[in-house]
Structure formats: C-alpha cells, structure tokens
Symmetry: none
Subunit: 214 residues, 2 copies
DNA sequence: AACAGGTCACGAAGGTCA
DNA sequence: TGACCTTCGTGACCTGTT
C-alpha cells in the first residue's frame, strides 16, 4: 500500500495528478517537462537558500536549482532524454512520412495510379534545392485551393511546406500531381452528415473515388 | 531436465511465459515481436552504456540496441523474417480469399442461385438487372436483404441511395465499374453500421487496395 | 501444434502554446 | 511553466498457414 501511494504521488513535488514513469522515476507532467527542459542545460543555476529549498507543488517553481537537484536525487536519469541529433532524425522521418501520405492522397484524388512503392530506400535525404521558389508558390496555390481551412485542417500541410523549403525535387513531384488534380474533394463530401463521423465519411469518399464516378 | 528448463525460458530476457521457437531460437512473445520489428530496420540504435546492458524481463525495454544484439548472439536469424514483398503477396491472397467468400454471401442474398452465367470469365458476377427495370429497385432489394435495420443502422445507406435517385446512369456505371473491379461488398461493410469500428474500416481499406485502384 | 505475421491498447518519449 | 497533444515502441492476444 505504501508503494501504491508512492506511485500515485510525484516523487519530486508531491503532485497527485498525471503521475507516470518519466525518465525512470514517478513524477507529474510538469516535473517531467521541467526535467526534460532543464537537465541538459549547461548554464549554472543559482539558489538563494544554499540549495536547501523544500520542493512541493507550491514551491516547485521558485527554485529551479533545488528542483533539478531533487529530480536527480530521486533517480531521474539524464540518459533517458533523447539527444538532439536523435530528435532531429525523428522529426525528419516524420516529415517524410507525412509527405508520402500527402502524395498518396493527391495521387488517389487525381486518379494517378502510377504511384509506385518501388522507392525502397525511404531513409534517404532529399537533395538540396538551388533556390526554386516557384515550387513553393505552386504549393501555396494548391493548399489554398484544395484545403478547407475552416478548422485549421491545412495547418499540417503548411508545416510540411515550411519544412520542405529548399527541397525542390519532391516539390516538383507535388506540382506535377497537383496539376493533375481536376477537382477538390480532399476535405470530405459528407462531413456534416448526421451520424457519420469524419473517418467514416472519408471512407465513403474513398469508395466513391474507387468507382471513378466523381 | 536442464535442457527442458532452458527451453522454457526466453533465451533473450529470461521470461518464462509463452516460450516458443521463434526465428530459430527459444524466446518469449515480446522478444519475438521485438526482433520481427527491429531486426530489419536500418536506423542506427544508440546505447548509453557502451553496449553492455544486461537484458532481463525488467530491463529488456530500456535498451533496444543491446536487446537486439543479444537476439543475434543467441542465434535468432534475420533470414527467417519474411520479406515485405512476401508479406504483401500473402496479404493479397488473403484478401482475395475473403472477397470470394463475400461474393458468395452476396450471391446468396441476391437470390442468384443459378451458377450458369453466360459470362464465363470470372465465375463471380454481380446479379444482372434485366433491361433498365431501374437500378434503384435493385438497390432497394439489395438494401432490404443485406441490411440489419434493427437499430436504424441502415439509414445512412438509404440516404445515400436517396441522394443517388434520378442518377440511375451513375448507378449503372457504378455497377459496371464494380463488376470490372470485382468489388461488391462496398455497402456490405457499411451494413453493420453502428459506428464503423477500426477493424471494419480497415477492411474497407483492404478491399480498396485489392482493386488496385491506388 | 508450431510458428510466421497482424492488431491494438497503452506507456513514455517529444512538441505546442496560452 | 504546465496542461494537453502527437508519435512511436511494446507486448498480450489474435489469425492464418504448414
């Protein structure tokens, strides 16, 4: 029972909400975020009380130095924070993944069945651009004309565009696909249909597209 | 006896449950899944302890690099993992099998018990509507016989039908395309609508993929 | 029965923004 | 700073084939 209670309280500040195992210790969300942000920083922290501050939910934000010290004391491990290069790679992979999906969607709606999976080496880097800005412009057009942004739904597309600045190879491909796009239905025909949620109406869209009727 | 005990423990992590010969070594289910997922990946794994982590049930998830190393060390073989193309083919075959069964169900519902179709090419056909006695009628029949409306669940299908009324040419076209694509169970999947769950929409995806449209 | 792959809820990382 | 979110790896459980 003692252990159970322990596991339900943040070992750093005593918080009782959102407790989980973070960086090898049971902590709350805020101490987790604090440790992630602070532990790797090299700048010297300063404590006004000679490093003897008590850390609880109320005081935890008053002295970062003592809070961080307690984090280490209760066993939070710095080596469980992913390295910046690791994170960079992950972000890159995520972007490529989204890109691929975007291209698939475009292919589907333009009826372009020539989209081949033969691209075996997915971990490859995109070639650098020579400053082709018109591809970006084209993408802007495409975003503007094909996305219903009434609910911020094209935000991810914008992110991808931003991240891809200077990667004209794939942008050229996008432009080609985009040109084939006769019409629009990217953002769901039956969205507000009573009872059918977004996922389902998306499936219906796909079925209709599969028939090549619309 | 020693050997028997050995065979009842995962050679990677020492787990004692669900042991079997997996990829040429005696392992638990989780190490099997881990090896299947990880062994073929090309991305570089990183170990914080210079590749000297001890792997047991508690620690196995902490360092993928050392876990994978141990997998190889105890003799798990990467060539026992099926290739992606192999898996693709298998999935394709499974889908065709399922579609065949669905087509049979379909035939049963449409009262098309006579197997002597004049079209000899595929063996499985959409029930032919005589003349243009109205595709809508056919659809009505089909809806009536395949939808469980005990909870108003076929309402969406009916609405779709209504939207298509007066567009019998489109309906005919859909049927023709459907014949060509050998996709019947479009609405069959929606029949069980009670909220389309994840599994079901997954089926729809599979069917679409099976048509080679995308 | 044995052994491949598939599924999905869940835990624990990082990211975002008021 | 911290509440909330997304993403991805994990492992128990499942399906299908031999």
């Amino acid at each position: 029972m003692d252990v159970k209670v322990k596991e339900r309280l943040c070992q750093v500040c005593g918080e009782s909400k959102q407790i989980g195992r973070n960086f090898c210790a049971f902590t709350c969300e805020s101490c987790k975020a604090f440790f992630r942000r602070t532990a790797l920083k090299t700048i010297q922290l300063h404590c006004a009380s000679n490093g003897k501050c008590e850390i609880n939910v109320q005081t935890r934000r008053l002295c970062p130095k003592c809070r961080l010290k307690k984090c280490f004391d209760i066993g939070m491990r710095i080596d469980f924070i992913r390295s910046e290069t690791d994170n960079k790679i992950r972000r890159q992979l995520m972007i490529e993944k989204k890109m691929k999906k975007l291209l698939q969607d475009m292919s589907a709606y333009s009826g372009d069945s020539s989209d081949n999976d033969s691209n075996a080496n997915s971990g490859q880097e995109f070639p650098e651009s020579d400053g082709n800005s018109s591809a970006i412009d084209d993408m802007d057009d495409w975003i503007e004309h094909t996305c219903d942004d009434s609910q911020g739904s094209s935000r991810q597309v914008m992110d991808i565009k931003y991240c891809l600045s200077g990667k004209s190879d794939i942008l050229t491909e996008i432009r080609q696909k985009a040109q084939k796009l006769a019409v629009i239905p990217m953002c769901k025909t039956l969205t507000d249909y009573n009872g059918i949620n977004q996922l389902e109406s998306r499936r219906i869209d796909e079925l209709l597209v599969a028939t090549n009727v619309f």
